[in-house]
């Protein structure tokens, strides 16, 4: 298929520029690092990340595997989506399981309904060590959080997996340098400069497939700490909480115990884009219990080696 693209650089719209930059980063890291891996949660950002990775290396296969850090507390729709997508692409999937980390005594079991958000860090770092990965692609964006706004595209992690925000490598021009010593690794963020709206406009343009829970659907929910939590295997109503059926969708997808839904009737891409454009609450603020612990919750978790 041949399409005509105008020849002036200005004719590339902002999505084209973001897309090409992300592809550039994928190719640089694949070339500079020995053993990269792509972290895939099943959320919209990682769906876009995987879509871009496939474009970066087409018509060849990905030169790295895909890894899901499985909290064991997933939305079933997300696991279905993950397996169907990986199957369709014919790529390699590694599942690093928090359940296994608990079974091996690496982390304490917070109980059947406790948050496993922070436990993922141990599972992730163990898997990086075990597979000797020296680079991990993630879908984090700088517009998500004030600590992420400070992070380099190629972000260095020491042998303990820690991020030191006060000693980041200079990163000038298009010179992304990916060398690390044994035991150290990089986190690589090709979507650094994308905003939530860019992600949705790109999903619409490219028809990127997503888990069904991103679109409005009726769901039984309880209201907890200001979040609408979907009642299911991991969320049971507590005394005083009332189950209601509401039309909702998920604006982010994380652990089922920590991710809230938003009230919505948006069932199509344009409706979601209109909704995101007029939102007054940030996506993490509207949907994530895990970011509400403290003023620097994300910075603290990132220092420990979180995504």
């Amino acid at each position: 298929m041949t399409t005509t693209i105008p020849t002036q650089a200005q004719a590339l719209d902002s999505l084209d520029l973001l897309e090409s930059q992300a592809i550039f980063i994928f190719r640089e890291v694949a070339a500079e690092c020995e053993r990269p891996v792509l972290l895939f949660s099943g959320g919209k950002d990682s769906a876009v990340l995987l879509h871009l990775a496939v474009k970066a290396f087409a018509p060849a296969k990905l030169p790295f595997p895909v890894m899901h850090v499985d909290t064991g507390q997933n939305f079933p729709e997300v696991l279905e989506f993950r397996d169907a997508l990986i199957d369709q692409l014919g790529e390699r999937l590694i599942v690093a399981s928090v359940d296994e980390s608990i079974a091996r005594g690496r982390v304490l079991d917070p109980g059947p309904l406790g948050s496993r958000n922070r436990l993922q860090t141990t599972t992730l770092l163990d898997a990086i060590n075990e597979h000797r990965f020296d680079a991990a692609f993630g879908g984090a964006r700088r517009d998500e959080d004030k600590a992420r706004a400070k992070e380099r595209v190629l972000s260095f992690r020491d042998a303990f997996g820690q991020w030191d925000p006060r000693a980041q490598r200079p990163e000038l021009w298009q010179l992304y340098q990916g060398k690390v010593n044994t035991g150290e690794h990089l986190r690589c963020f090709p979507l650094s400069d994308w905003t939530e709206l860019d992600i949705w406009r790109y999903i619409e343009r490219e028809r990127v497939e997503l888990p069904s829970i991103y679109f409005a659907h009726p769901r039984e929910v309880v209201e907890r700490n200001g979040l609408l939590m979907g009642v299911g295997e991991f969320i049971h109503p507590e005394p005083g909480e009332e189950i209601r059926e509401e039309m909702v969708r998920y604006r982010t997808v994380g652990d089922a115990t920590g991710t809230g839904a938003v009230r919505s009737h948006a069932t199509t891409y344009p409706e979601i884009i209109a909704e995101v454009s007029s939102a007054r609450i940030s996506e993490r603020g509207a949907t994530r219990g895990d970011d509400r612990f403290s003023d620097s919750a994300m910075e603290d978790r990132k220092r420990e080696g979180y995504f």
Binding site: T4, A9, I23, A31, D143, E171, L172, Q177
Partner: protein
């Protein structure tokens, strides 16, 4: 959020803040984001809470970009914060840079891809040495447009003489640095005058607000707007060889310098072998012509030996293939650079061992003159000679930012210790 009416036709401006510590760079960016309603309600509430917790008033605007705990503790910016803003007229990528001399490497990181510098000057104090220094680095990196905010004008009682003094200082400096436009806007970031909302406080000023100036500034990628060379030819550093399942290879990379078309004659450097472009694959499928900034993979008519680090060049001017470089170097490490030091040099997609054979001069950023010297200390800028183990295909930085730049890497720690621009300092060339 701003309604996404005309995003498709909207252009993109990348700008970086430049100025000394405490002159109000982060506060201006905070004001710009708040008054153009780029922030979500919960983000504003979080900043209000953090401000009250630290006893710095109801809403410390600098906390919007100073997101690290250590930054809020000290009230300074340590590393670049990237923020994104969209108005009905334009999209912005904002790099809010630190003002401390200690964090010059971070400032250079933020400014290296900027189209424009938003210079912030404390009107009660005038232009400080640190502002000159950072503006000089921005100019060396190729930033040619500035917008200047004379900030804290409310503290001078909107004194016209204070404003005039800054206009004069800025005009002088801009002329020496070869910077084109230097609109000076009297503002109060704290109160909001002339940042987004026009103000009558400075009766003598009738120019644009900061936002209006940012919306009106010419945008465009550095490589296409700078250089301005009609003869410029394509530069395509090869990143990766794509092996097609059915046989055949293509060479992946991002187009720079000029667009690349199917059928065009190309030279592969450093080998010097030539061929023609057989096909160009892009993220949208095959294209006849690929503009600057597009990630592509290119297949050639002839079966040549091409590997990562090679440079595919279109018809037109050729880069220089050499192992001997003269370059302007920003030294970031806390060790001293002396002749004989060995590093890994990364230029485009090629890495090679490199030897610093001589340090020829240091750039005095106050006098804008070169002084003979034989070593560089942290944050010094110098003119150096480098020999590389394998030859590189290079352009002067003033001609092409991608093929004219490199970094030096400590082979033991893998830390980037210096940023280099091939050729003499940009701003001295024009004298």
């Amino acid at each position: 959020m701003t309604p996404e009416t005309a995003l498709e036709t909207m252009n993109l401006l990348r700008f970086a803040t430049v100025g000394s510590v405490d002159d109000g760079k982060s506060t201006i960016i905070g004001r710009l984001l708040v008054d153009t309603r780029q922030l979500f309600d919960d983000q504003v509430v979080a900043v209000e809470e953090a401000s009250r917790n630290r006893g710095v008033g109801d809403l410390d605007l600098s906390f919007i970009t100073d997101g690290l705990r250590a930054e809020r503790e000290q009230g300074i910016t340590i590393d670049v914060a990237y923020r994104y803003a969209a108005t009905p007229r334009r999209k912005f990528v904002i790099a809010d840079c630190p003002g401390h001399v200690q964090y010059t490497a971070n400032m250079a990181t933020g400014a290296s891809n900027a189209d424009l510098a938003l210079v912030v000057v404390d009107a009660t104090a005038g232009l400080k040495e640190q502002t000159r220094r950072h503006l000089c680095i921005a100019a060396l990196l190729g930033v040619r447009q500035i917008i200047v905010c004379a900030n804290k004008m409310d503290l001078t009682g909107w004194d016209e003489a204070a404003y005039d003094r800054i206009v004069k200082e800025v005009d002088q400096l801009a002329a020496t640095l070869g910077i084109e436009s230097a609109t000076v806007i009297p503002v109060s970031a704290l109160l909001g005058d002339n940042v987004v909302l026009p103000s009558n406080a400075a009766a003598y000023y009738s120019g644009p607000t900061v936002l209006e100036a940012l919306e009106a500034a010419p945008a465009g990628s550095w490589s296409s707007s700078h250089g301005g060379n009609e003869e410029a030819a394509t530069r395509l550093p090869v990143q990766w060889i794509l092996r097609h399942p059915g046989g055949g290879r293509s060479y992946a990379g991002m187009v720079d310098g000029a667009s690349l078309a199917v059928g065009e004659e190309v030279t592969v450097l450093p080998s010097g072998l030539t061929s023609r472009v057989k096909a160009i694959d892009s993220p949208h499928g095959e294209v006849e012509e690929a503009p600057i900034g597009l990630s592509v993979s290119v297949s050639l008519e002839d079966d040549l030996d091409v590997s990562r680090g090679d440079l595919i060049v279109g018809s037109g001017d050729l880069p220089t293939v050499t192992s001997e470089l003269t370059a302007t170097l920003c030294w970031f490490a806390d060790t001293t650079l002396v002749p004989g030091a060995r590093y890994r040099l990364k230029h485009t997609t090629r890495s090679t061992p490199a030897l610093v054979t001589a340090i020829d001069a240091e750039l005095d950023v106050n006098e804008l003159a070169l002084r003979p010297i034989d070593k560089l200390e942290i944050n010094d800028i110098g003119l150096v000679s480098i020999r590389t183990a394998s030859p590189l295909a290079v352009d002067d930085y003033g001609h092409n930012r991608i093929t004219g730049s490199f970094v030096l890497i400590d082979e033991r720690t893998n830390i980037t210790v210096a940023a280099g621009m091939i050729g003499p300092p940009l701003l001295l060339e024009q004298h």
